[in-house]
């Protein structure tokens, strides 16, 4: 598979919220808020809150549907958390890929779906708790398998989502 060369620093595709976050470059933030007037700060907060409420609730419903059974001698992989994390990263990738490749979306989409829904649906704190509990229960190998597996699958899902999103974005 051939990969495209990395976009140059001044490529508009680099001017995403994520790049602004990792580059610490005020220019990106200014670009995002001036070129594309979107929801106000208050509106954005409300959108994030709504998305977060939905994401957390969905994650909880998954947990109810597939509860993790843990006993002193048998440790189960928390499939509900795993699923929520991987699916959340997949969706995040799709949204990011779609938007960065020019896909048209309403202004509320990113704060509600990405920051809110995906952010609330996925969880790092629960993952860390579960890994720590496995280590504490003397299952270090399962802890490593689950922790590393979550990280790798999450990244993989994100990249797959990015690729899919870019295809969708270019079509739109």
């Amino acid at each position: 598979m051939t990969t495209a060369p990395l976009p140059r620093r001044d490529d508009p595709r680099m001017h995403t919220v994520e790049m602004a976050a990792v580059s610490g470059d005020l220019e990106d933030h200014e670009i995002l808020t001036s070129v594309r007037p979107g929801p106000s700060t208050r509106e954005t907060a409300l959108l994030v809150a709504a998305g977060g409420a939905l994401g957390a609730t969905l994650r909880y419903l998954l947990e109810l549907a597939a509860p993790t059974i843990a006993t002193p001698t048998l440790v189960d992989i928390p499939w509900s958390t795993w699923t929520a994390n991987v699916l959340g990263c997949l969706l995040m990738g799709v949204i990011a890929g779609y938007l960065e490749s020019g896909g048209r979306a309403p202004a509320w989409a990113r704060p509600f779906l990405a920051t809110g829904l995906c952010g609330g649906f996925t969880t790092m704190s629960t993952l860390v708790l579960q890994v720590s509990a496995m280590i504490g229960a003397d299952f270090p190998l399962i802890a490593l398998e689950y922790g590393l597996g979550s990280a790798v699958l999450a990244l993989l899902a994100l990249v797959v989502g990015l690729l899919a999103g870019r295809i969708l974005g270019k079509r739109s």
């Binding site: 809110g116 996925t122 629960t126």
Partner: protein, 130 residues
């Protein structure tokens, strides 16, 4: 009825946690230091670490509750708030963005730092709350 209360607790907590996470990112983008080049996304890092610490505390206080107010508190604060405050999707996106921007070493450092600090923060929360 209890089921609805539980769902409500998670939703409210999730809303609050996610908003707090966004608030940190917003503050960092607007008020944080300007730097050339790539760096660790400190806002997401802070949100994740705070969530791990808070979860340690909440698990100690309410983790063993089987029902009633304790269980509702756990759903509100742990499942909801900490689940909303922490995020794996944003972290993954940032890692990929770093790698695409040429900062693979920073990306790796970010992952390891998040994982390690998260576990330390959780442990601190567990210990301090006891």
């Amino acid at each position: 009825m209890a089921a609805i209360l539980g769902l409500l607790a998670v939703a409210v907590g999730g809303a609050a946690g996610s908003t707090a996470r966004w608030g940190l990112a917003h503050l960092w983008a607007v008020r944080g230091p300007r730097r050339e080049g790539l760096s660790v996304p400190w806002a997401t890092f802070a949100a994740n670490i705070l969530a791990c610490f808070a979860l340690g505390v909440i698990v100690t206080w309410f983790g063993a509750s089987a029902g009633g107010a304790g269980r509702t508190a756990y759903l509100l604060l742990a499942t909801g708030f900490c689940g909303g405050l922490s995020t794996l999707s944003t972290l993954a996106l940032e890692v990929v963005a770093l790698v695409r921007g040429g900062g693979t070493v920073i990306a790796l450092g970010y992952i390891l730092l998040s994982a390690g600090s998260g576990m330390v923060a959780l442990w601190l929360g567990l210990v301090l709350a006891a």
